[in-house]
């Protein structure tokens, strides 16, 4: 009885992961296809990567995307961390319900609505659309994701540490930088990475809020995909996947080694 049950469990996990990963794996494999036909294998080749690096339009778009992502993720991390602090530390202030609603709503809000409303704001205040407006839009929706990630860390945070620091005479600012920040730093870092990838990923909101000269990579890929699938786009996608996967992997290794170090420190402290 027990073994069949666990076999069923293993099978569902394995099949589920196959479903999640097979399309991505196939995409990567076919980016090395010699043929121009995306679905017929005609031998190994890296020529599409060469084509990619000669495509100035794609390179420009990648550069725009990287800058938007870096700037918006950094601002979103600061704003999102403040929002998370406000939500966990201050249980009563006027408009708290509205505030928490505004923090959670963008997580699920359909992108077409967010994009349209931000565009109409920029038009109403007469702000020229371009690099700045895309960045402002990305800060707004990704700060909410950062807030949720940081908040979940803050909820489990042991506040007696902060109180002890303050009893010993540390100012609130010093307490924050000496105690609170180091503890929630992993959450802040993963919040930044989440914000960065969300910005890297966004097509709909960027299409609404961007103007001439600020075409992002997803916008470029999307316009090319609509004209027909090419191995060049497969190559671009593979590179993007590689960048993101490397980032996530490095971050998780760093996180893990910090965790191991922390446990070792704790054990050492207990032994003394």
């Amino acid at each position: 009885m027990n073994t069949t049950w666990s076999r069923f469990n293993i099978a569902s996990v394995v099949l589920g992961f196959a479903f999640l990963y097979l399309p991505i794996v196939l995409l990567i494999i076919f980016s090395f296809n010699e043929s121009k036909l995306v679905t017929v294998w005609a031998g190994f080749s890296t020529k599409w990567y060469g084509e990619l690096f000669r495509n100035q339009g794609l390179i420009d778009a990648a550069w725009v995307t990287a800058r938007v992502g870096f700037i918006s993720a950094s601002f979103a991390t600061v704003l999102g961390t403040l929002a998370a602090l406000a939500l966990t530390r201050y249980t009563r202030f006027r408009g708290r319900v509205l505030f928490s609603g505004m923090v959670f709503a963008p997580l699920v809000m359909p992108e077409v609505i967010t994009g349209l409303s931000l565009l109409l704001l920029f038009v109403a205040i007469g702000f020229d659309r371009g690099f700045v407006t895309v960045t402002l839009a990305h800060i707004t929706f990704s700060m909410c994701f950062v807030a949720v990630v940081v908040q979940s860390r803050l909820i489990t945070f042991d506040r007696s540490l902060e109180e002890a620091a303050m009893d010993l005479g540390a100012t609130p600012v010093k307490t924050f930088f000496a105690i609170t920040l180091p503890v929630i730093l992993p959450a802040i870092i993963s919040g930044w990475m989440l914000a960065f990838t969300l910005s890297l990923d966004d097509l709909v909101i960027a299409s609404f809020t961007s103007g001439p000269g600020a075409t992002t990579l997803p916008m470029k890929i999307y316009s090319q995909v609509r004209l027909g699938v090419t191995p060049e786009i497969n190559a671009a996608c593979t590179l993007l996947i590689a960048v993101v996967a490397t980032g996530v992997l490095v971050a998780s290794i760093v996180n893990k080694s910090r965790e191991v170090q922390r446990q070792r420190d704790e054990q050492a402290a207990q032994r003394n």
């Binding site: 399309p23 196939l26 530390r89 202030f93 006027r94 992108e111 707004t140 609404f208 999307y222």
Partner: protein
């Protein structure tokens, strides 16, 4: 309006002691709340009010392409004159056109069916993960989250190569001899369902997993010892205990799926009617800003109930976490 109600109403619960740093600390407390609050009011709340206002405007051949435009130069009387020009015409027009009605209905149906499919596929995965050896769980969790970090657009795009008539799925099925003729999947509703289930699966699996992982499995053993068959043990114990995860996951799939644009556009072909796509076309192809605003307002009204359900589920989960 919202600004003044915030700034005079911030009270910290950390009992700011009247020390030397008291004043600085009070200002610091206010800034922690005020900065993100103001940002969201300016870039989230105000934009919605503008959408609402423009949905009541009339289309004009101008820039911006709607009337009236509220300008400061008209003064107060001009403001009220402009206010009188707002109409419900766009909404009347939307209700009069079967195209929009059908788009809303088909969006609801597609989002609902996809949610049920995602739940049916996601539940066994989440359950299997929750019952995996403890040492394996962080890796499995990581593997579920990883696709979420890779581009949504790319993952949808990858399905084009698989689903099209000469694509990999048809090649595989014909090679195995299951079918003789290529199946038409791309540009049908089936392709949209596959796209939504695939893209949103992690959103379903993660809340389900966190609900199932906390579950006490001795309850099931007890039920089995008492002679309860596995299927009714599932409905009587596992499913009720996983319900918070079911609600959160379903909302996380249903709400964004309602307004989805990329998946129906790339996988569904030109014939699919979904409201996100309609809004996009109305805006970018017809350049009718007032009508697309009205489309957005109705979509938002349809989503108010699910969004509030989601927020409640979220708040409850948080209280448990404390």
């Amino acid at each position: 309006m919202a600004q003044s109600s915030v700034s005079d109403g911030i009270g910290s619960d950390s009992a700011a002691a009247p020390t030397a740093g008291g004043i600085g600390r009070a200002i610091g407390n206010r800034l922690v709340i005020l900065v993100p609050y103001l940002w969201l009011v300016v870039f989230f709340l105000v934009p919605f009010l503008i959408v609402f206002k423009i949905s009541l405007s009339t289309t004009a051949i101008a820039m911006p392409p709607y009337l009236p435009v509220f300008g400061l130069e008209d003064g107060i009387s001009g403001f009220f004159a402009n206010l009188g020009e707002l109409t419900l015409d766009n909404y009347l027009w939307l209700t009069g056109d079967a195209l929009y009605f059908n788009a809303y209905v088909s969006s609801i149906v597609i989002a609902a069916v996809s949610t049920v499919l995602t739940l049916a596929i996601g539940f066994p995965i989440a359950y299997g993960m929750a019952r995996a050896p403890t040492s394996l769980r962080p890796t499995l969790l990581m593997l579920v989250i990883l696709p979420f970090w890779t581009s949504f657009l790319i993952r949808v795009y990858a399905w084009i190569g698989i689903l099209k008539p000469e694509g990999l799925l048809n090649q595989f099925l014909m090679w195995t001899g299951i079918i003789d003729e290529p199946l038409l999947i791309l540009n049908t509703h089936t392709a949209i369902y596959i796209g939504i289930v695939y893209s949103y699966l992690p959103f379903m699996v993660l809340p389900l997993y966190s609900a199932l992982e906390k579950m006490d499995y001795s309850l099931i053993e007890a039920a089995q010892d008492l002679g309860c068959p596995p299927i009714s043990a599932f409905w009587k114990i596992t499913f009720p205990l996983a319900l918070p995860g079911v609600v959160a996951g379903s909302m996380l799939v249903f709400i964004p799926a309602m307004g989805e644009f990329v998946i129906p556009d790339l996988l569904g072909g030109s014939q699919t009617l979904m409201i996100g796509k309609t809004l996009w076309n109305e805006f970018f192809n017809n350049r009718d800003w007032p009508v697309s605003s009205a489309v957005a307002v109705i979509l938002l009204l349809l989503l108010v109930v699910p969004i509030m359900l989601f927020q409640q589920a979220q708040a409850r989960a948080q209280e448990k976490g404390r």
